[in-house]
């Protein structure tokens, strides 16, 4: 049996828009980052997002409240995570990377996104928790307008 709480298909929470379950995956000091280009020092650079616990909660509240014209209704999405590689295991600290393909459908238009994901996971008695998730979009420095969902 694997460790409890290890769900490699984490995208499932975002896909079902089960955002409370998504929020519960994180450590309080964790960051959810969509960088621009090949940025490494996220704190001192402009990112598409670089969410601490407060901002993650705010983001989910915005999705749930329905006052945002770009996210109500949200796009429907199908996403696939694949090409998983365990980069390193250092005590309770596990780094995993994988590829994400996401297709969104809204108002009769489909768009395709691809991203490299890097997870820094912490082993806890209750399962893995996310300390950092970096979703590096293939065209993060290209023309982008609006995402009504999570990567």
């Amino acid at each position: 049996m694997g460790r409890p709480g290890l769900h490699l298909g984490r995208g499932g929470y975002a896909h079902r828009r089960d955002y409370e379950a998504w929020l519960a995956l994180w450590r309080d000091d964790g960051f959810y980052t969509l960088p621009i280009g090949d940025t490494q020092n996220f704190d001192d650079a402009l990112n598409l997002c670089h969410d601490d616990a407060h901002m993650r909660r705010e983001r989910i509240t915005r999705f749930q409240q329905g006052f945002s014209i770009s996210s109500a209704p949200p796009a429907r999405t199908v996403r696939t995570l694949s090409r998983f590689v365990i980069e390193s295991v250092d005590g309770d600290d596990v780094r995993v990377r994988c590829a994400e393909h996401l297709i969104e459908d809204k108002f009769g238009r489909q768009r395709i996104w691809a991203a490299d994901l890097t997870y820094t996971l912490i082993v806890t008695p209750g399962g893995f928790q996310i300390r950092h998730k970096v979703a590096r979009l293939l065209n993060s420095d290209g023309m982008l307008n609006s995402f009504s969902y999570l990567f």
């Binding site: 402009l46 990112n47 997002c49 670089h50 705010e58 983001r59 770009s70 609006s146 995402f147």
Partner: protein, 173 residues
């Protein structure tokens, strides 16, 4: 367009309490050795002005950023958001500016995606019947005369009317 009247002049009322959301930054600045008046000025600068400023024809300024609109063709406009920081300013303060920019702007922001949605809907709308008028009359009923032009409520289309008036003037011989 004034949203926060008490933040029109950032040097005014510097003794006012520092907002809760900037308390951590203020403490970080104090810990770096900045004196209290300087801490307050930097915190004010990080938060930005309480008004938006639109420069005819295609630049707008708000809070912590510039927005530049570049017409490309009749059905396409490129829109670029530029984050603004303090050259040589404290790292903690510039980081806070970047987080404010990310909070509002960009495809994952809480503001510009909604603006983008509206722009796309306008594009679809203007492809409708060519004979249909486009209404920008909101707030006409309670506009007040002002020194540099009419003044309207924050939600009025006063600014849009001014921009179209100016465009029309410039396009006429």
């Amino acid at each position: 367009m004034v949203m926060i009247p008490e933040l029109v002049d950032l040097e005014e009322n510097l003794d006012a309490p520092i907002p809760e959301r900037f308390q951590t930054l203020a403490q970080a600045l104090r810990d770096e050795g900045h004196d209290e008046p300087q801490v307050r000025r930097i915190v004010r600068a990080v938060g930005g002005a309480g008004f938006n400023l639109n420069l005819f024809p295609n630049v707008s300024f708000s809070l912590a950023f510039f927005r530049v609109l570049t017409p490309v063709s009749v059905d396409r406009t490129d829109i670029r958001h530029i984050a603004i920081g303090m050259d040589g300013g404290p790292d903690a303060a510039n980081r806070a500016r970047l987080r404010l920019h990310e909070h509002f702007q960009g495809p994952m922001g809480f503001g510009s995606p909604d603006d983008a949605e509206v722009w796309e809907r306008i594009q679809r709308g203007v492809q409708g019947g060519a004979a249909l008028p486009i209404l920008i009359n909101r707030g006409l009923d309670d506009e007040q005369p002002g020194e540099a032009g009419p003044r309207g409520h924050i939600s009025a289309e006063t600014g849009m009317r001014a921009a179209y008036d100016m465009w029309k003037r410039m396009m006429q011989p």
